[in-house]
């Protein structure tokens, strides 16, 4: 298990270079093979992962620029482990589901490159390294949206790129400032997160730094009102792009909140708790409403993911084990479900070359299997118990209830409004009589689509019924993090808050 993290990160990159010499015909198979190997590697990682150790494991460290404290520092813990697996898994699935013919070679290579960056983001413990992967991940997505997208693809691609890049500009300053603070405190430069975790920052500085990081993460999540790039990106992106964007890339933001914002700036996080939560609630309700108003299936799902990300934020800022664990699990579940939903839309788009809801109707009669899988995913999306969607949503809200029951009530409306737009979409597209005769002889899912979708369905059910192994692993690291926050908290109010939200029992 030596260097397994480096292997996981750079295996796809190496594959990319080999990919250049492989011929068009066999490139997709190559891509899938690589993705499978990568996925297996991440599974090996899970097997090798010591579930009793909450700290970082498989750590790899060597200085890159020693005098400036930049280092190559990888490590995995309960928080990041499953996000890594999610990335590799969704990449694999999306590659299986891939059926683009145009420039397939470039596409596959780009996807593999993207996979590298995604895994890198979740594994890097050095802030500079993290920033590198964070920014690098934009390039392949830019290419995917811009080159294989539909309609105003170039506009969407540029918007996505510039928006997210500009968003993370401030973060860079924040990183360097923190590095300097560390230098002042210890006399040596370091950008490694574990080192920074030991750094106790004055309150005002925390506020500023929190802000600097917040913008970058908020744009990525995307949080209201920085979300407008998402509908365009999803609207124009090819299926595989949307899948990876929704399933994994959005999670980078929420992951970063948990990994950096909370433990680095506990007091600031508490200070900004209510504003952030308010934004999150707006996301939940507002995005759900906008989703309901959409005419394009893909847009519905795009906005729905904004809504769900809102719940994740809520869970994150509950700052108790229930909420955080729930938030992380919700990341996984949303990754799987939204990914599946985008693939399903892709299926119908391949057949009819339109995503407009009113183009369809009565699909349940024509494509029963398709309808069934869509239905399962829909139920997971609205968070039905015993599907994967329920666990995370339940825990996130449960966790936040301790912070504020009223806000939880508002955030909870998400489960109603979510049901509204999802069921209405389903009704419009699948129920009723077949009106358009183009739809009359659509063929049901073929083998490729099945092989891509069945694993997702299986996961939705299995993890819905038995999420414990994953939850407990996450929970362990989360608890560790919360303890860290408690230790670092400067203000008594923060400490008091953290203790309160992490213990049950009536108000003392």
């Amino acid at each position: 298990m030596e260097h397994i993290l480096s292997i996981i990160v750079f295996f796809p990159l190496v594959a990319v270079f080999f990919g250049f010499v492989i011929s068009k015909e066999s490139i997709k198979t190559f891509g899938i093979t690589v993705a499978v190997v990568e996925f297996l590697l991440s599974i090996v990682l899970w097997i090798g992962f010591d579930t009793s150790n909450a700290g970082f494991q498989f750590v790899e460290y060597f200085p890159l620029i020693s005098q400036f404290g930049v280092s190559y520092y990888l490590g995995v813990d309960g928080i990041s482990l499953f996000l890594v697996i999610l990335s590799t898994f969704m990449t694999l699935i999306s590659l299986i589901g891939l059926n683009i013919k145009k420039d397939i070679k470039n596409l596959v290579i780009t996807i593999l490159f993207l996979e590298m960056t995604l895994v890198g983001v979740f594994l890097s413990l050095d802030m500079i390294l993290f920033y590198i992967f964070w920014e690098l991940s934009l390039i392949p997505m830019l290419y995917i949206i811009g080159a294989w997208g539909s309609g105003q693809r170039v506009y969407a691609a540029i918007k996505f790129f510039l928006y997210t890049f500009a968003g993370s500009a401030l973060m860079l300053v924040g990183i360097l400032y923190l590095g300097y603070q560390y230098f002042l405190a210890t006399g040596t430069w370091s950008f490694s997160v574990p080192d920074w975790h030991l750094l106790v920052l004055p309150f005002n500085m925390q506020l500023w730094l929190f802000g600097a990081f917040f913008l970058a993460f908020a744009v990525k999540v995307p949080m209201f009102p920085f979300h407008t790039w998402l509908p365009y990106a999803h609207g124009q992106a090819p299926t595989i792009g949307s899948v990876l964007l929704a399933a994994v890339m959005l999670k980078m933001g929420t992951y970063a909140f948990i990994r950096f914002s909370l433990p680095l700036f506990p007091d600031a996080s508490y200070y900004f708790l209510y504003p952030v939560a308010t934004i999150a609630i707006i996301m939940v309700i507002y995005a759900a409403m906008v989703a309901y108003a959409q005419e394009d299936m893909k847009q519905v799902i795009a906005y729905s993911s904004i809504s769900h990300m809102g719940i994740i934020i809520i869970g994150t800022f509950a700052m108790n084990a229930e909420g955080l664990t729930g938030a992380i699990f919700l990341m996984l579940s949303h990754g799987i479900v939204s990914g599946a939903l985008f693939m399903l839309v892709g299926v119908i788009y391949d057949r009819r070359h339109t995503k407009m809801i009113n183009e369809f109707g009565g699909l349940a009669t024509v494509m029963p299997r398709y309808a069934a899988i869509f239905g399962v995913m829909m139920m997971a999306a609205v968070g039905l118990p015993l599907t994967i969607g329920f666990v995370g949503e339940f825990l996130s809200l449960l966790g936040f209830y301790r912070v504020s029951w009223l806000m939880t009530l508002f955030a909870g409306t998400g489960i109603i409004l979510g049901a509204v737009y999802m069921l209405v979409l389903f009704k419009k597209a699948f129920f009723g009589k077949v009106t358009k005769d183009e739809n009359a002889e659509l063929k049901d899912l073929d083998k490729r689509e099945f092989t891509a979708l069945i694993p997702l369905v299986a996961l939705v059910v299995i993890l819905g019924v038995y999420p414990k192994p994953i939850l407990s692993t996450i929970d362990m690291s989360v608890k560790k993090m919360i303890n860290l926050m408690e230790k670092k908290a400067l203000l008594p109010s923060t400490k008091e808050f953290l203790i309160r939200v992490n213990h049950t029992g009536g108000k003392k």
Binding site: L398, T408, G412, I415, K427, K468
Partner: protein
């Protein structure tokens, strides 16, 4: 005994999964047979458990851990005690009957296999609901039955109205579920657990305000499931589903889940009588309110649906007044005769090619005598005429109301009973007697398959005799639920009973007489009151105007105006501004040499000026 529990619980889901394999294929009787068999199997094991429990056993099984995070540790736990076993028996019995019945009813439907998949899935969720030993487990079943009801209401998804009704049911339940979820959250943070045992063990030590809140929140959930006002509209629309579904889900089992929740949490509700009072009051209101709508309706199934609503009201009254065992008893008896009523209605629809308007029937007795008899029995039971089942349970409720000193409740229920008698026999008369309107409309009604009638027989018998089990039932369930003491004199009780029965029978006779004479005059239907009732107090219209439409408009606004016009626009604006300023600054690049030189000189002059006028040296 665990194995019986597991059989009872998992037999249905096995059947469901089995027939799931056939859903995409064309009709196949095997699915029906297998599911029916497994449901019966489940019923039998529930019965075994019933006797076992009667011998004083209480099963408590932890299956496996489900969710564990923070200090929360949530297993799949099941409990079989005197309360849940009653529910199990009722549910499995009715569902088995309905399943067998459906073999006939759905015989020619192209969704045949799908139907049985859904039914068994429903039974499974319902069993989880009643058997689980903690609130979240109950919530799983809660949502599960919600899903199944959504699927079954919208079973004929090609009908616009059906799928609409399905959505309405699901979403309305979601609204109520939010309330319930909040209740669960509060419970967790108060008690640190969800399991009934521990919660009820400590509920005494928590301050009353919190308990009240919990009670109310849970009751909101119950209101949704049991379609209490203002969530009642979905139940009437739910009649879009196949009739067996209405019998099973929307009469016998699912809609009573709310009542079950209150009974389950009786230890909690006992501590906060004022919440109980609210429940009782609302129950009373619904009992009358729904019955009133049933008076004038012409839709066969909707009439029965409204009567279900009003009966649920009765149950809530009992539960609210602390007479939990009575509530449970009425729940059970009601399950029998109401499902019988629905299934009978199903036969009629079958005979009449899904015609629902009772004014277009009449004189069907000749065509389908057995159905007529069964429905008559069910109606009598519903009205609460001695010796039928309804008499015992319903009179107990009235007695309880009177006993509690809540005379206005008692009176309302008394009136309600009268209404019940009226609309039930209005229905009977219009459907089975009088002149044969259907002949003119060219229907050729015929009695349904014998096996279907045989299947209905047990329900018929139970609706007749179940009442005599009142005493054993009471002492059986009060081992878990607390007893309800009748403080009033036995004579008053008897007096009440005679009063009520007398009134009911009077109404029945009057109704029969009136309709035998040809019913009410036409101009009655132009009365404003009549219209009010006919339009269900305009509440559905109100929801339409006040909620659905505005929400859609608001959503459109949020998208078109806020999202596109404001947020996105301002984002693009930044880019535009930068670009524009680029085009401006580019003018500086005139390409003319003397301009360039001028810029240089301008620069130096400005700097010199700065040097002269602004000079912070150190």
């Amino acid at each position: 005994m665990e194995k019986y529990l597991f059989v009872a619980l998992f037999a249905p889901i096995v059947g469901s999964l089995f027939s799931l394999l056939f859903t995409a294929r064309k009709k196949n009787v095997i699915t029906a047979l297998v599911t029916s068999g497994l449901l019966l199997f489940s019923f039998v094991s529930s019965l075994t458990l019933l006797f076992a429990v009667h011998d004083g056993l209480v099963l408590h099984v932890k299956l496996m851990d489900w969710i564990s995070a923070g200090s929360l540790n949530l297993p799949f736990g099941f409990i079989v005690d005197n309360v849940s076993v009653i529910m199990m028996v009722t549910v499995t019995l009715v569902s088995s009957v309905v399943n067998i019945y459906s073999m006939g009813y759905m015989a020619h439907d192209k969704g045949y296999n799908r139907f049985f998949t859904y039914i068994s899935a429903f039974v499974f969720s319902m069993l989880i609901l009643v058997m689980s030993d903690n609130f979240v487990g109950l919530f799983i079943g809660w949502e599960g039955v919600g899903l199944c009801s959504y699927l079954l209401i919208g079973f004929w998804y090609e009908k616009e109205s059906a799928s609409w009704a399905g959505n309405e049911a699901f979403i309305m339940n979601r609204v109520a579920d939010l309330g319930m979820l909040m209740g669960l959250f509060l419970i967790y943070w108060q008690f640190g657990t969800f399991s009934y045992e521990e919660v009820f063990a400590h509920v005494g030590s928590v301050n009353v305000g919190v308990v009240t809140t919990i009670g109310l929140l849970l009751f909101i959930g119950a209101m949704g499931k049991s379609a209490q006002f203002p969530f009642h509209t979905w139940l009437a629309d739910a009649m879009e589903g196949p009739t067996p579904v209405s019998a099973l889900i929307h009469a016998a089992t699912m809609v009573t889940a709310g009542v079950y929740l209150v009974i389950r949490a009786s230890d909690l509700f006992m501590l906060v009588p004022e919440v109980g009072h609210i429940i009782a009051t609302l129950g009373t209101f619904v009992a009358v309110f729904a019955a009133s709508m049933a008076l004038v309706n012409r839709d066969l199934k909707r009439i029965i649906a409204y009567s279900t609503l009003s009966q649920l009201g009765y149950m809530f009254v009992a539960a609210g007044l602390g007479a939990y065992w009575i509530a449970l008893f009425h729940l059970m008896t009601h399950a029998f005769f109401k499902s019988l009523l629905f299934l009978g209605a199903g036969n009629i629809m079958h005979a009449m090619d899904d015609e629902l308007d009772i004014k277009k029937m009449g004189g069907l007795f000749g065509a389908m005598p057995y159905t007529a008899i069964l429905m008559a029995v069910a109606s009598v039971a519903l009205c609460g005429v001695y010796p039928f089942a309804g008499f015992f349970s319903k009179d107990a409720i009235l007695a309880a109301a009177f006993n509690g000193g809540n005379f206005y409740i008692w009176f309302a229920l008394f009136i309600g009973a009268g209404m019940t008698a009226f609309y039930s026999f209005r229905l009977i008369m219009l459907v089975f007697f009088g002149d044969k309107v259907y002949k003119k409309l060219g229907f050729h009604p015929h009695e349904t398959y014998p096996f279907v009638l045989w299947a209905l027989l047990p329900l018929g018998i139970l609706s007749t005799v179940a009442g005599f089990f009142e005493k054993p039932f009471e002492e059986f369930v009060t081992k878990v639920l607390d007893k309800y003491e009748f403080s009033m004199a036995h004579s008053t009780e008897l007096g009440l009973i005679f009063l009520t029965s007398g009134f009911v029978i009077l109404v029945i006779v009057a109704t029969i007489y009136k309709y035998a004479k040809g019913g009410f005059s036409k101009q009655l239907e132009t009365m404003p009151l009549f219209l009010l009732l006919k339009n269900q107090y305009y509440i559905p219209k109100l929801y339409e105007v006040a909620i659905f439409k505005p929400y859609y408009a608001l959503s459109r606004f949020a998208w078109k105006q806020i999202d596109v016009r404001i947020i996105d626009f301002s984002v693009d604006m930044i880019a535009k501004i930068l670009y524009r300023s680029g085009q401006q600054s580019r003018k500086m690049q005139s390409g003319n040499l003397s301009d360039m030189l001028r810029w240089m000189v301008v620069g130096i002059v400005i700097l010199l000026a700065i040097a002269i006028f602004y000079r912070p040296m150190v």
